[in-house]
């Protein structure tokens, strides 16, 4: 029987459904053992992330029967009486293999081209491998999937660039400063987006973070989470000469930083480059400050435009990625050396392409 995939993802089901089918990491070996004990699969890998739950299996059962029983397994295991809205998909043979490759490359992800899924897939495979639930078919299919993901990452632009506001801000900071660790960051307004942006900067080496907020308690709380320091909202300008990156997202109805206020501050900073990220609506920073030397101001629209352009570029790469995937899946489904053997049978276990 060929490789089959059954599952549900952000494409097919809302989070309220997906969360009911999620497998806890510690429960995976037991679930895999149950699958095999029930005779549903000779080999199996379960991938459970926030965006998808999928079972990759190789079974003695005919494809249709295997899919029906795997679906029932998912429902029974999670004690779910099939609710409306459960849209499971199933793919067999070549389509199943191509689906695995697409997942590994991030082509099936919510954020197109994201790389986190590859790590999650590797982890799921390693869990199964460690507990001896994989064999010749899945080992070969998963190893090939990792190889295809690497090839696509190096040969296409599907994973290039930043597609979130936080990562675009980081990328901009890295265009100004060679090492973020030497450039203090100030967050004014402890909102969710500014927190995410600050975290993105932290993940790339920034470590000196000052937080200022109208509610000082919230500033202290966020500063603690970011391993930074809280600054009283009335005193943020006093700390300004030290910082090189400012993330502003207050709910103030007017600008908190304009040209008249920034000019003397820039002199105090000895004209070092300053990156201003204004993610507040209405805006916190007067656009005219961008005319000052060494000041680089980006508002939420600017950041989203960059993220959108990266996403557009990634979408343009889909056809190239799919061509590589089709070629690799096709090669894997073909006999190993048809010219030598003269046989037309597929590789054992991988089966023929589904219609």
């Amino acid at each position: 029987m060929p490789l089959v995939v059954i599952g549900l993802s952000h494409h097919s089901s809302p989070v309220t459904v997906r969360e009911r089918f999620a497998f806890a990491e510690a429960a995976l070996p037991g679930a895999l053992q149950e699958l095999r004990d029930a005779g549903l699969a000779r080999e199996a890998v379960i991938l459970s992330t926030c965006n998808r739950v999928e079972i990759y299996a190789e079974s003695d059962l005919p494809e249709g029967q295997a899919i029906t029983r795997l679906r029932q397994f998912l429902l029974d295991y999670h004690k779910v009486q099939e609710p409306p809205g459960v849209e499971m998909y199933a793919r067999g043979g070549r389509q199943g293999l191509e689906h695995l490759f697409k997942v590994a490359c991030g082509l099936d992800s919510m954020v197109l081209g994201e790389t986190e899924i590859l790590g999650q897939l590797k982890k799921a495979y390693e869990t199964s491998l460690r507990h001896r639930h994989t064999g010749g078919v899945l080992n070969k299919a998963f190893q090939k999937a990792f190889h295809v993901a690497k090839k696509i990452r190096t040969e296409t632009n599907i994973q290039r660039g930043s597609v979130s506001v936080g990562s675009v801000a980081v990328e901009l900071a890295e265009r100004l400063f060679s090492t973020l660790s030497e450039h203090p960051v100030m967050v004014i307004g402890a909102g969710e987006t500014s927190e995410k942006t600050a975290r993105a900067l932290l993940s790339r080496g920034a470590h000196s973070i000052l937080v200022s907020n109208r509610s000082h308690e919230r500033a202290v709380e966020l500063a603690r989470e970011l391993d930074g320091r809280a600054v009283s909202f009335d005193d943020w300008a006093a700390e300004f000469p030290r910082i090189d990156i400012l993330i502003s997202s207050t709910s103030a109805p007017h600008c908190i930083l304009d040209r008249a206020r920034l000019e003397p501050l820039m002199k105090a900073r000895k004209n070092r480059p300053l990156l201003l990220i204004d993610i507040a609506v209405p805006r916190d920073i007067d656009p005219s400050v961008n005319f000052l030397d060494n000041v680089y101001l980006y508002n939420i629209d600017d950041l989203q435009a960059i993220a959108g352009d990266y996403l557009r570029q990634r979408r343009e790469e889909i056809a190239r990625c799919e061509a590589i995937i089709a070629e690799k899946a096709g090669a894997m489904m073909r006999p190993a050396s048809s010219s030598q053997a003269g046989a037309a049978a597929p590789l054992p276990g991988l089966g023929k392409a589904s219609a």
Partner: protein, 275 residues
């Protein structure tokens, strides 16, 4: 092949630089999005040819080939390419070659202009010796360093403009951060300034026993002092008075433009630099 001279080899080098300049236009049109080895390779090939040409000339003269404008220009050109090839080993700075190629090509074409390479007669105003060669080599190396600093300055201005006006190329291009570009510009200027200072410091020794030559009445020496002051002012303004990166980059570009545009004319006026 008696007709095959070092100038022919240099011509091949200039053709390579020209190809690199044309290719750089394509890279610019594509937004410098991928690390590119081709331009680096073409400039390397040009540099090997140019080294061969200079070596051939040096063997013929049996001394450092820095006696006329052709040789001076090729020396400056060689310095720019050589320094670029070293710092271009670091991938984010490799695109400096795309900015440098048009300058290198232009200097190469200028050097090949007729009349700039008169036959070496040995009848130079100052007796040819090791000290003269050292003086010429040091000052020409300094102009090369100034040349590459101006190229880094252009790269800085381009990247700074794109960042300032939110051009997508600013984030898509494989370019070094602007603080790194500022450092590169500054270090090249310092290197050039030290070399120029060392070259100029030899002048009193060169003029020893030659009372017919006066520093104050030689336009080339006044010009050299002016260039030295210009670069000193630029470095002091940047280092001590926190001159902005943009003004510093413009300073590096304008100063080298001044050097290039006046070098030939000042040499023609100078009694000590007529060959």
């Amino acid at each position: 092949m008696s007709w095959w001279t070092d100038r022919h080899v240099f011509l091949l080098a200039v053709i390579a630089y020209g190809l690199s300049a044309v290719y750089s236009l394509f890279l610019w049109r594509k937004g410098f999005r991928k690390d590119d080895y081709i331009n680096y390779g073409v400039l390397l090939a040009g540099m090997i040819l140019q080294t061969k040409a200079m070596f051939m000339r040096g063997l013929t003269l049996k001394e450092c080939p820095v006696h006329n404008l052709y040789e001076a220009m090729t020396f400056v050109d060689w310095t720019i390419v050589a320094v670029y090839l070293v710092i271009g080993l670091w991938p984010p700075v490799r695109y400096l070659g795309a900015f440098a190629a048009p300058v290198i090509f232009a200097i190469g074409v200028f050097a090949l202009m007729p009349g700039l390479d008169p036959a070496h007669t040995g009848l130079t105003p100052l007796a040819a010796n090791d000290l003269v060669s050292l003086h010429a080599a040091l000052t020409l190396l300094s102009y090369g360093a100034f040349g590459l600093s101006s190229v880094a300055g252009v790269m800085y201005l381009s990247q700074e403009h794109d960042l300032k006006f939110h051009k997508l190329r600013a984030v898509f291009a494989v370019m070094p951060p602007i603080d790194r570009l500022e450092k590169i510009t500054s270090r090249l200027l310092w290197a050039g300034f030290v070399l120029l200072t060392a070259g100029l410091a030899l002048i009193p020794f060169l003029l020893k026993g030659r009372p017919e030559f006066h520093v104050a009445s030689d336009p080339k020496m006044i010009w050299s002092a002016l260039v030295w002051c210009l670069y000193l002012a630029l470095l002091v303004l940047h280092g001590r008075f926190a001159q902005s990166g943009r003004k510093f980059a413009w300073g590096a570009v304008a100063s080298f433009a001044f050097v290039v545009l006046t070098f030939w004319g000042v040499n023609l006026l100078s009694p000590t630099h007529k060959f």
